[in-house]
Symmetry: C2
Subunit: 338 residues, 2 copies
């Protein structure tokens, strides 16, 4: 093991996500192959459009969580491959439906499926991937997995609707914001980790621990994502910034800046985010208000809080390389902010 | 039994759909209650929007097929209630996503969910109902049912994408049109009927027979639906006509009129349906071309063909009231055209 650690120290540029990928390299290869095979359809547009978004350089974070969790639980079979594929299909379906939702023009620096093929095709191919995911689960045959992922899916949809209701509403509280990101993002992280324990047939305490790890990692991940939309760092990831501001999305940096601001500032937030009446200078003014109130810095602090819970939830597992990687992943998700 | 037949003769205004509803009245009541209970969510917009489309006077045709099929198979348990609810949730989800697809403004004579709440909410509430449907199936616990309905769902999505690809394409063949309606409509009819046999644990021959009944009834149903969009009868159902024409949807009446028309007529179809360059008089000209070539009449004939197959597929079941109702349902679906 010492050798491996030395290697890791030599390759300081390798992210925990890549390290995780290396630990489950064969599984990940099998997942990528299965994704390609199961998004096939006689209707050409289906694999075309699905391939565009799935092949668009996704980090495969969620399926990697399933593969890693199964390994952490000592599972030696092969079921994790198709279940990780299910998780990625559900994630991709929500991305496609999100494109409709957000009318976003950029996803991962490429033109979105929606911009290329339109709302209608994005919705339908999302439906296809979603259904295909359930077909794969049925083939696997575990009602427990089906229960976990069908529940996660309906919670995700509820979270997205709740987000829609909070959009342009500066009254949104931090609690409601948290509810949204737990549902729309963290729930799938939690399910992805949990099913790793389920396939390994581990006792409930390990299942619960991995579920908690995923949930809290997911919350931290989304918090940082929302910070990045107001951060110059984002540009280096090939993503545009200011999208949330343009749409009037109420993320934590806004919640904090609004609550900590004076009446004049709140008038600014109402005009720009509720009425969407924005001028060219408004975004940089928003950034300066967030700076003044430490809204971005404190959003990162909140992420650290959930990161700590995620770390502690791993406490019941004995030390292993994969456990270390799972721990490193928490810091990695949070340090994206810098 | 004679008494019942006499009663039916007296009440000539009662449609076979109502008769079917009366035969499974308690089940249908339970389905309606379960629909209301399971579309609940802490996120208010979810039941609001779902309630709008589910309560909008749907005929509950598909869940009635499940309830009727279970009864036809002599099933005496209660599982058909939640499974019929699953079928209705999937159907409703596709309607919601169809609203996005078709940019339609009217559904069943009311304002569509999409027009009232927007694309985004319709997509997400559709996703919610879809996921909720799978949660219900998991609670029921039959992997067979899960297999049938997850497969049906992905076929439906493929069919909708194929329809999207044929829209505005006057080259679309009758075969491709058939493929579309089998996938987007008939597949769910087939699944709805098949799971009636599955819960009753009947031998494969009955399962296959009911699946075939549903498939062929569904094809006939969609053929007539497509005829109705060019028929004055449609108006009396509270639906607008000419929507398909406006969108350039290639349904069988168009396929037949185009193939039977001369070059001048084909130029007309290309201008109106491919380029969507339409004047006020074009729809009535389209109707006259269809009349000239017997396109509507022959589309109804095609529907009769599939209706006959549906009828014969019921042959293996012994005579019963519910079997008669299933037979009458075929004629009812087709006679809507007049």
């Amino acid at each position: 093991m010492g050798v491996v650690i030395n290697l890791d120290e030599d390759r300081t540029k390798v992210s925990p996500l890549e390290t995780l990928g290396n630990h489950v390299a064969n599984d990940l290869k099998a997942v990528n192959a299965l994704i390609l095979r199961r998004m096939e359809s006689d209707v050409d547009l289906v694999p075309q459009l699905a391939g565009h978004i799935i092949a668009a350089g996704g980090k495969r974070l969620r399926p990697l969580l399933t593969l890693g969790a199964a390994k952490l639980c000592g599972y030696r079979g092969e079921r994790q491959v198709s279940l990780a594929t299910c998780v990625e299909f559900i994630h991709t379906a929500t991305l496609l439906h999100d494109d409709v939702v957000d009318e976003s023009n950029l996803r991962r620096g490429q033109e979105s499926a929606n911009a290329l093929w339109g709302n209608q095709a994005s919705v339908l191919v999302g439906d296809f991937l979603f259904s295909r995911s359930f077909e794969l689960m049925v083939e696997d045959g575990s009602l427990d997995v089906l229960r976990i992922l069908s529940h996660a899916s309906s919670v995700i949809a509820e979270g997205e609707v709740l987000q829609l209701m909070t959009t342009n509403d500066t009254q949104t509280s931090e609690d409601t914001y948290l509810e949204v990101i737990k549902a729309k993002t963290a729930q799938l992280f939690a399910a992805a980790c949990q099913i790793g324990a389920v396939v390994a047939d581990r006792p409930p305490v390990e299942e619960t621990a991995l579920k908690s790890y995923g949930m809290n990692l997911g919350i931290a991940f989304q918090l940082i994502d929302d910070v990045l939309d107001y951060s110059a760092k984002q540009a280096t990831l090939g993503k545009s910034i200011g999208d949330d501001f343009k749409e009037g999305k109420i993320s934590l940096p806004v919640v904090l800046a609004f609550r900590r601001g004076d009446e004049k500032e709140r008038t600014f937030w109402r005009r720009t985010l509720e009425e969407l009446d924005q001028t060219d200078d408004d975004f940089s003014h928003a950034l300066s208000l967030m700076e003044r109130h430490g809204a971005l810095k404190d959003s990162v602090e909140r992420a650290r809080h959930y990161g700590s819970i995620a770390r502690d939830s791993l406490g019941i597992f004995k030390e292993s390389e994969i456990k270390s990687v799972f721990e490193d992943l928490i810091d990695f998700c949070i340090e994206r902010a810098y």
